[in-house]
Symmetry: C2
Subunit: 365 residues, 2 copies
């Protein structure tokens, strides 16, 4: 059996708590002979900054390049509110995304039937919801230069961020969206602000061209980002795949995740290009939720998004479909059995902590 | 009685239909001797482009500068999808905002009790909702330079947008937010992405400074824009005033508006600075909804947001508090009487069209 090189980067806040539960699942898969892993672990974010003054060390970056897949917990927190911008916790995550060229961020927002009542939305609007947001992750305003704060006269300052997109960046993320739509309901909504932004004009044009030349079988609609935000709230089930840029994707995917009522349940994948020779693609898997410093260290965080991120890695990076199915079935199973962490708890359900939920998943496996 | 110079710019799509209903209300106020108006009217958006090749003519701009207040319907539509970027319909609205320096966009998102069931959200999450989004409107990525599309080699293109903020722009919008909070629940949430954007770093810093020096009595919280989007869906009633930049404000205010279930009901005000000598401030009032080309020309659009925009103008530009109260009471009255346009209709209510709703408001007055 192939040994899969997996790098664990728990990060900050609840990151290490939810990662501890994933390790149980990894141990179980190993013990059952269902998969064989070579595990590395390192620091990222504030934890790395505290240890070496950088939000990710060169050693950790080397491990990231050597890994077949990376599991990341979360980064950031008020503790590092005043560290210099260049070495803030988030810079570690952003460097991983950029240096590994993980340009395609897949954020499924699905509503677990057992949790439909946890949504803010009326049940019929979210029951069965299954939207996939495909977010461009290595371009746009996150990385464009100049990105500066300058002192002017009189104590005034000027801050600048630059949103840059080149055609090839839009084309490759559009292709990912169209390919994924073909495995789903065959519909893509492309989202930008072409009425205000030149990057939006180019985005719309390139997505239309890619569609016209290679994906005419997929239904394509263009929506302005503000309208898309509205439509997500009004009638989320109209969507299948949404493709959008780094910044709009950040906000819209968080809104979509919150709609499901299952924020602590949602994994994500950040994928690079398929390499010509090896056929491999670099990949990082992480929960959609953040470091949640307000509940960190209390053992109450929901580990399911993190465990689901492992399942995505099994499926997309290692081709271990059976193992992935099994982990996902176990997650569905514990929910059906009524196990709930605080974020999704409701009357009559069995309240468990982080470790309790992890143990329940193992028991279900 | 003072005569108020009011410029009407119906614009595109449903703009002229909803503006027709406002004219009835203006006529009624005039006839009752409650207010005296000198009305001008002109074209903006696609309608102006069709007539003169520009999304707003120099004559219309001159009228805008001469007016005490402007009422605008909406701009844009698929008809103008292929006109040159510089003269697209939206450029007319953006020029008005920029040239008149209407830097403060006030977008109240309130849930009319009679309409709480029209929301996607569960009733208890939105009943009594009253959030005010204060959006910066003359800066940021909307207006920053460079804003270009360049041809590279091999048919590749590069698009650039630039987000620029100077301290004074952030300071003045923060002051508006704090002042308004004092007339409300005294709480401000400031929203940016300081973990990714330098404009976010400066935004957070300036808002904190203004708060620390002059508004310590107001509660200030900072939220990242993605978290704010989430929180709006999760528990919108936690918010009183949200202050944010032009682009985040565009998306978050649309999400907030949709939460109320009353999109067709929500007016907005875009205000300039108070002028030193006259004590006046330039102002433009418009519905939060757009041109809705899909229902334009059918006489079914909801005119209440447009009529509510007039009420805001009466209140904030003309100091006609009594008249403003009366118009707003009439709106509440027709809702209580069960009149509903299609967007807010539900079983058992009286379905009316655009003109029917306008007439009902007049009857209620
Ligand atoms: C932590 C932060 C830099 C990050 C982002 O803005 O991309 C996060 O919000 C996300 O969505 O993964
Ligand atoms: C029409 C468009 C240019 C405008 C904007 O993006 O500001 C609209 O969406 C709004 O929010 O007023």
């Amino acid at each position: 059996m192939a040994t899969h090189k997996l790098l664990l980067l728990p990060g900050d806040g609840i990151g290490s708590e939810v990662m501890a539960e994933v390790k149980k699942v990894i141990g179980w898969l190993d013990a059952q002979g269902l998969a064989s892993f070579a595990i590395e672990e390192d620091l990222v974010g504030g934890a790395a900054y505290d240890s070496c003054g950088q939000p990710i060390s060169e050693e950790a970056m080397a491990k990231a390049f050597a890994a077949d897949a990376i599991l990341l917990g979360a980064v950031g927190g008020p503790k590092w509110a005043n560290v210099h911008y260049e070495v803030r916790p988030e810079a570690g995550l952003l460097r991983l995304r950029k240096d590994l060229q993980l340009f395609a961020n897949l954020r499924p927002a699905m509503c677990y039937p057992a949790l439909a009542d946890a949504s803010s939305l009326k049940r019929d609007l979210v029951e069965g919801l299954d939207v996939l947001i495909v977010r461009e992750l290595t371009g746009g305003v996150y990385f464009g230069e100049p990105k500066t704060i300058t002192d002017l006269s009189d104590g005034q300052k000027r801050a600048i961020d630059t949103q840059v997109y080149e055609s090839y960046e839009i084309e490759r993320i559009a292709r990912v969206a169209f390919e994924l739509a073909r495995t789903r309901k065959n519909r893509v909504v492309s989202t930008e602000k072409h009425n205000v932004m030149k990057t939006g004009v180019l985005w719309k044009q390139v997505v239309s061209e890619v569609h016209g030349s290679d994906y005419n079988d997929v239904t394509l609609e263009h929506q302005l980002a503000d309208s898309c935000g509205m439509q997500l709230v009004r009638a989320p089930k109209q969507f299948d795949v949404i493709v959008t840029d780094n910044l709009f994707g950040d906000i819209l995917s968080d809104v979509a995740a919150m709609l499901t009522g299952s924020l602590g349940m949602l994994p994500s994948a950040s994928l690079g290009a398929v390499e010509e020779i090896s056929g491999k693609r670099r990949a990082l898997y992480e929960p959609v939720h953040g470091a949640a410093p307000d509940i960190a260290g209390q053992g109450v965080a929901n580990p399911i998004a993190m465990i689901g991120s492992l399942a995505m890695a099994l499926r997309y990076s290692f081709g271990l479909i059976e193992a992935a199915d099994r982990v996902e079935a176990a997650i569905a199973g514990v929910l059906a059995d009524g196990y709930r962490t605080g974020d999704i708890w409701s009357e009559g359900m069995t309240r468990v902590g982080t470790a309790g939920m992890g143990d329940a998943v193992i028991a279900e496996l």
